[in-house]
């Protein structure tokens, strides 16, 4: 802050040293909960397993040429025509469920993360713009955001998914529309506080371009609370996508995510083939719970009220 002679000193994001230290502090605080550490390990394992699926599992569930109808409805643990054990059984098309689940998990992750990142970007842009410019622009943008937050996300996502049609890009768009408002609100809240601080005022009085002030100075300072929201939103995007697919407006059965796998398996629960819906559901549950646990701990660590 402030002028020293004619030299303007604007603190940008923390210098490298302190950044490392902050990270170290963060980690040592995070480590305190072994549950949260466990959850982080689970997420990493799931990410590796799902994105590494092509090298890990015996079958590419999308390559229809690899499937054999003779293998349909094998129970978990049985061996099929491929001479390997189907750990989680097979579905009606003779598809190895473990392979399908990991590929489906990959789709779910892709959708959840891209929706989260896009919603984050959109939300940050709107929130920062509103906070920086203030006045009418702020009033208008935040009114829109408030408006949207007054609608249940599931309804908005449902309507969007219904009118956009089925497919991965469509579902991502629906989720972004349903979720960006949380980021915009959070960014705006944090940025409004930052804005009033002297260094931003000082920066504004210099010929620095607006975008530079926004991204270089305002953004790093509003990022921590956003990270918390983002983790939770990725989990809820994954869960929302599964729900939409279950309701029949998400992904088509032929491009399975965890949600469509569960939905497909639901048809067989009366026929004693419960593994078709139980296992994808267990993976979905573990994923979402783990992400939420991590988000919870991050919140605890960076929330100043919780500092011990």
């Amino acid at each position: 802050m402030a002028h020293i002679g004619n030299v303007l000193v604007v603190p940008s994001a923390a210098p490298a040293e302190t950044r490392v230290m902050r990270l170290r502090n963060f980690w040592s605080d995070y480590r305190r909960s072994w549950v949260a550490v466990g959850a982080l390990v689970v997420i990493v394992a799931l990410l590796v397993a799902s994105f590494g699926a092509p090298w890990l599992v015996p079958q590419d569930p999308y390559d229809l040429g690899q499937l054999d109808w003779a293998d349909a409805f094998l129970q978990p643990g049985q061996t099929g025509s491929g001479n390997y054990v189907h750990l989680l059984g097979t579905d009606n098309a003779g598809r190895d469920m473990l392979s399908a689940i990991l590929y489906g998990l990959r789709t779910s992750f892709l959708i959840g993360i891209s929706a989260g990142v896009l919603a984050l970007t959109l939300g940050i842009s709107i929130g920062l713009t509103a906070a920086y410019f203030g006045g009418r622009i702020e009033a208008l943008l935040m009114r829109i955001v408030d408006l949207q937050l007054s609608m249940p996300a599931i309804l908005l996502a449902l309507v969007m998914a219904a009118v956009l049609g089925q497919g991965v890009p469509q579902i991502i768009l629906a989720l972004v529309v349903a979720q960006y408002a949380y980021f915009a609100r959070t960014t705006h809240g944090a940025a409004s506080v930052e804005r009033r601080k002297d260094y931003i005022e000082a920066a504004r009085s210099t010929p620095l371009p607006t975008w530079r002030i926004l991204f270089k100075h305002l953004l790093p300072n509003v990022l921590p609370p956003l990270i918390v929201v983002a983790t939770v939103q990725v989990a809820s995007a994954i869960s929302l996508e599964a729900t939409l697919s279950f309701l029949g407006v998400g992904l088509p059965l032929t491009e399975p995510s965890l949600g469509s796998l569960i939905s497909n398996g639901f048809k067989y629960i009366h026929a004693g083939r419960s593994w078709l819906s139980i296992y994808p559901g267990v993976f979905l549950m573990i994923t979402v719970v783990a992400i939420n646990l991590v988000g919870d701990q991050v919140r605890t660590v960076i929330d100043p009220r919780n500092s011990r």
Partner: protein, 324 residues
């Protein structure tokens, strides 16, 4: 106060406007509802007549203005599938949804609040950790999957409860509800529990946070130092303090539970408005889609309004400002 009400009303109108535009543009982009419904044997001539009859040949803005004009005359249109006014279609199914929502919010409160209070009262005990872990489960596990597990367990394997549908309906005063028959309760309990889990997780966390905060206040410390029994402190003082935010959340969640009922109603085949909207989406029954959204938004905003008013009454520090 008046300005506040007007602001709220304008907000509601804006939401309704945006949602209806999305539905109109969206349905227009997907294609023609007639093509989804029409019988394959129909000739091109019949098809074109129908498209004209329902106004799908007009430009989108004109279709929309016709709709808005009718709305201002109190006419939300007729279902294309059932040919009955959408208002009566929605209202005929609203009681079932309200039943489900009330029971589930009731369950969430009756279990969530005491559990949260306990977790906040002894935050480091094993039971508190367990309660908190369960609350994470409650709001992260997708509703539909829990619903499926409930059906598998209690309906398919154990055979204790019916797997879906609404039970026998009885009369109370001028109401018709399934909550007065034992059959009705047998049907409602599983979907209601399913729908309540998310809210329950939320209630637990809120109550716990309020409890922890209240336990740390000077007042409580002082009362404890004076030797007042904890029971008296918790129920006499803290309870009153945390009840205000809880009432708010209870009200707000009533609205979003209404929206979330869509999922539970589908899993349990519950004949409410949520099931109706899914069906009309899958049939592209535009009038029903729009009216459902209009009605849910209005209901939602109304509940928020009532909650705000109650809140202002409970807490004199809160002033109602226009708009936000």
């Amino acid at each position: 106060m008046f300005g506040y009400l007007v602001g709220r009303l304008i907000q509601a109108m804006m939401v309704v406007f945006v949602m209806s535009v999305i539905v109109f543009v969206g349905v227009y982009a997907i294609g023609n509802p007639i093509d989804v419904m029409i019988d394959p044997g129909a000739s091109q001539e019949i098809r074109e007549n129908l498209i004209r009859q329902y106004g799908f040949d007009q430009p989108l803005w004109q279709q929309y203005f016709t709709f808005v004009g009718n709305v201002f005359q109190g006419d939300l249109g007729r279902s294309m599938v059932y040919n009955i006014p959408v208002t009566s279609l929605v209202f005929s199914r609203l009681p079932a949804t309200l039943e489900l929502v009330l029971v589930s919010v009731g369950i969430a409160t009756l279990i969530g609040v005491p559990a949260g209070m306990y977790a906040g009262y002894r935050p480091n005990g094993i039971p508190a950790k367990l309660i908190m872990a369960l609350s994470v489960l409650g709001f992260s596990v997708p509703t539909f999957w829990i619903g499926m597990l409930l059906i598998m367990g209690f309906a398919v394997n154990l055979g204790w409860l019916p797997s879906g549908g609404r039970g026998e309906v009885g009369h109370v005063l001028w109401f018709k509800t399934s909550l007065v028959t034992s059959d009705g309760w047998a049907h409602v309990i599983m979907p209601a529990v399913n729908l309540s889990l998310f809210k329950m997780g939320l209630m637990i966390r809120l109550t716990r946070a309020g409890m922890v905060e209240a336990m740390g206040t000077d007042y409580v410390r002082f009362a404890r130092a004076q030797g007042l029994p904890d029971r008296q402190i918790v129920f006499g003082h803290i309870m009153r303090n945390i009840s205000i935010p809880l009432v708010t959340v209870f009200g707000l969640e009533l609205g979003s539970t209404l929206a979330f009922a869509v999922v539970t109603e589908t899993v349990f085949n519950w004949p409410g408005v949520g099931k109706l909207i899914i069906d009309s989406i899958l049939q592209l029954d535009r009038p029903v889609m729009v009216s459902y959204l209009v009605m849910v938004v209005l209901l939602f905003v109304m509940i928020n309004l009532v909650v705000d008013l109650i809140y202002a009454q409970l807490d004199p520090r809160v002033r109602l400002k226009g708009g936000s």
